[in-house]
Symmetry: C2
Subunit: 325 residues, 2 copies
């Protein structure tokens, strides 16, 4: 069934959309009350964040926009040392969208939310004119398990860990857009279990960031700027799968700037960094974890290239690939 | 300056958009840290909600989409007996939007957030192809001041209060769309101060709802359904300004179904209802507050018309006026 503009009126059609798709899939005792706001218990201090998802195409190898919308927000909470607990979901639906497709997206959100241990406790639906696209905003609340994890907190001597291969989400979306057949799937995944493994193993974490839009280059520049330090990485240490490497070579892409949706960096004091890598590697989302560099005095991001040269790594300038996450 | 698609890349242009517009306007110590999530202290249990705003036109008499985006979410929290504390803001910007217009929207959000006593602590910006529209999602966290306020909580003998005149937001938007010159301004306003006044005066509140998309008819049907009771209202008691009445007569509109953005109902035990009206009327956003009806045994929503007849009031069916809030 095609959604038309009347589904945004707030009347009967809006109700049917909410009941038949969102309540059916997200079903939980808080959401089902349909109050103006969810009432929740939280322990400790909270982490609180939001992200909007506009990816095109909405379905791709390894996931869909709904999986991204859960993972993106859950990962932002996790990076602050918080256990993700509650999400809200706001849907902006363009007229012409198919209700079965929305149902499929909502179903994926439910499954991913269950894996990530979060409940969708409040939602909103709007319908606008358009071509059948769906945009999703999620916000999330988590309970802080460990205080003091911060992008301002990195020190010379810390090591930089990356949880796995770069560029898979970006390459999967581009392949889909360009009709290229390959086996590259988006790495889209909820990362709280890696964070929880690190904390349970008493690893001291200075800072964590998921490596999304803007790629590793952007994240490392944010670390350098916020912690007022220099970031030194080794090109040869950067993990990239052979298939993504091949894809990048053909299209002239740089994995440093490519978006990921299931990868994170962790900055860890030098003496604990090897243990941290081992912990990460035992997690199914961290099996290719590796140390990619270190924090030193100074500023900027420097990469020692495979040929032994040095290259300053700036943040992305220009288009990159919009609407990829 | 026109925003183009490169502003959504996550690179330098995205940074400049965030710094020059959002951080400049929303400036506070939590947001400025630019962590993946805000870390916050909360007292008590929390209320948590979300809403997206897609109104067209984005500017209208009495406000703009930014004012709506703050008030809508703040009001949803307030209706649960919560003090609004923190908001997130997610912007989906269509290419072609003017950066000065976005700056103006963000400025209004800042001013309205200050009045409502909330801080915008996390945000997100995406850019999509399109015609220069801006869509805003806000989510909000509040601290519950009074437990047990719920749409499931109304009892026979309770009275239904409405905080003021109906239809003003809807009529203002329609006037703007149709190029009709008049003095009707949107009623868009943050309502927490009314709630706070009621609580401070020891009024027992069964249920509150802001009267937005779908209008009073929809809200009263939700009360009837959730509390398993009958709602009886008096047509003659419904407050509508002369100017909105005239507007509705010409266009054949029914104020019962028109959207408001600064009006609420409160369901109050009979013996306290007169006192509650007096408290509301002392608040600048409740000066036209009045009792519009009562809760009885049964189901559905019945209106005694001005001519003494009876009319069952159903929820909106069909288009209404999409994209109005």
């Amino acid at each position: 069934m095609k959604i038309d503009i009347s589904y945004g009126s707030g009347g009967k059609q809006t109700s049917s959309l909410i009941n038949d798709i969102f309540l059916k899939n997200f079903d939980n005792e808080v959401l089902n009350k349909l109050e103006d706001a969810a009432v929740l218990d939280v322990k400790n201090r909270i982490a609180y964040t939001t992200d909007s998802f506009v990816v095109t195409p909405m379905f791709f190898k390894g996931g869909n926009i709904g999986k991204l919308a859960i993972c993106g927000t859950v990962n932002d909470l996790s990076m602050m040392g918080a256990r993700p607990r509650y999400l809200t979901a706001g849907f902006i639906i363009e007229a012409g969208a198919d209700s079965e497709m929305i149902d499929q997206i909502a179903h994926t959100m439910r499954v991913t939310a269950e894996e990530a241990g979060v409940k969708i406790v409040a939602g909103d639906t709007k319908v606008i004119e358009g071509n059948g696209n769906v945009y999703i905003n999620t916000s999330g609340v988590g309970e802080i398990l460990k205080e003091g994890i911060s992008i301002q907190n990195c020190h010379p001597g810390d090591m930089i860990l990356l949880s796995g291969n770069l560029g898979e989400h970006h390459a999967a979306i581009m392949s889909e857009r360009m009709g290229i057949e390959n086996n590259i799937a988006s790495d889209c995944a909820p990362l709280f279990s890696i964070v929880s493994d690190l904390l349970e193993n008493d690893i001291e974490i200075r800072c964590m960031r998921d490596v999304t839009r803007g790629g590793l280059a952007t994240v490392l520049n944010e670390v350098s700027e916020s912690s007022k330090c220099r970031v030194e990485i080794e090109e040869e240490a950067l993990p990239v799968s052979d298939e993504v490497k091949g894809f990048c070579n053909i299209l002239g892409l740089d994995p440093l700037y490519m978006a990921n949706e299931g990868k994170m960096i962790a900055v860890i004091p030098g003496e604990q960094s090897q243990k941290a890598v081992e912990v990460m590697r035992k997690n199914k989302y961290g099996s290719h974890a590796t140390i990619i560099g270190k924090i030193t005095e100074g500023n900027g991001v420097n990469m020692t290239t495979a040929l032994g040269g040095n290259r300053m790594i700036d943040i992305l300038y220009g288009e990159g690939l919009p609407r990829i996450c």
